[in-house]
């Protein structure tokens, strides 16, 4: 009889200390695991027809060709560094934002280089971008 009575009082009284322990543990766990995602940018390009018969280049009046090699860039047949490229593109974009840019990539160039060119184009406001492969 006496035993039963004691159990009842135990159940009635909720122990706070372990609960607080657990809650703190959970709190710390979520704070530590919460890792903010990096902000991503989406670089939009159009991919011309892989069919070599279609004459793409005739459609455009203002055409700018950037070639991405494994070890560098070329703008209109001249070798350029990233900074030079940015300066030239800024100047060219100043004339017309409707300039069509064709980016030709060699197969062994790293993707990072292409992204750099696309980044510069986005910065100076050139929107008509096409990526060719060679």
């Amino acid at each position: 009889m006496r035993k039963r009575k004691r159990r009842e009082t135990d159940a009635a009284q909720l122990e706070m200390t372990p609960m607080i322990d657990v809650v703190f543990q959970l709190l710390i766990f979520f704070i530590v695991t919460l890792k903010q995602e990096d902000i991503l940018s989406h670089l939009d390009v159009s991919r011309p027809s892989p069919d070599p018969d279609t004459p793409v280049e005739q459609d455009f009046k203002d055409l700018l060709t950037i070639t991405v090699h494994r070890y560098g860039y070329m703008l209109k047949g001249k070798v350029r560094t990233v900074n030079q490229l940015e300066r030239d593109l800024t100047r060219l974009a100043g004339f017309s934002k409707d300039l069509s840019v064709i980016i030709r990539c060699t197969g062994d160039s790293q993707h990072e280089r292409l992204v750099k060119v696309l980044n510069i184009c986005a910065k100076v406001g050139l929107k008509k971008l096409s990526v060719f492969s060679m």
Partner: protein
């Protein structure tokens, strides 16, 4: 002793879980493009394709061969029509591997392709 054991177990579980998470994330290192446009909301139909530094293609973490990938894309275009494609390529990936993905897309009349890049690193 009991609370200490509790805490230690918690720590062990914590480290096991976080180590696995990091391994998953380290696969692809995106290039940086701080001037690129940000799209708040991707179209729900967007297909995210990942290309790792060795040129392997994967969708939702599942590595696929090129032919398998082409088959999946074909099936999807047949069922839903065209959809935007977002390529998350590693910065060290060679262009020819990215090109393979683009060629498969353009073969299915998907002309607009997005590349994901890091605008701003939080961590």
């Amino acid at each position: 002793m009991t609370p200490m054991i509790d805490v230690v177990f918690q720590l062990i579980i914590f480290f096991i879980v976080t180590i696995k998470m990091e391994e998953e994330k380290k696969d692809i290192e995106l290039a940086k493009a701080k001037d690129g446009p940000v799209i708040e909301r991707m179209a729900p139909t967007t297909m995210v394709v990942e290309v790792d530094k060795n040129g392997w293609i994967s969708i939702h973490g599942a590595q696929l061969s090129r032919s398998k990938f082409a088959k999946i894309m074909q099936g999807r275009t047949k069922r839903y029509g065209q959809f935007p494609v977002l390529i998350r390529a590693d910065r060290r990936a060679e262009h020819k591997d990215v090109r393979a993905v683009m060629d498969i897309c353009s073969g299915l009349n998907i002309w607009r392709i997005n590349f994901a890049a890091i605008k701003q690193e939080v961590s």
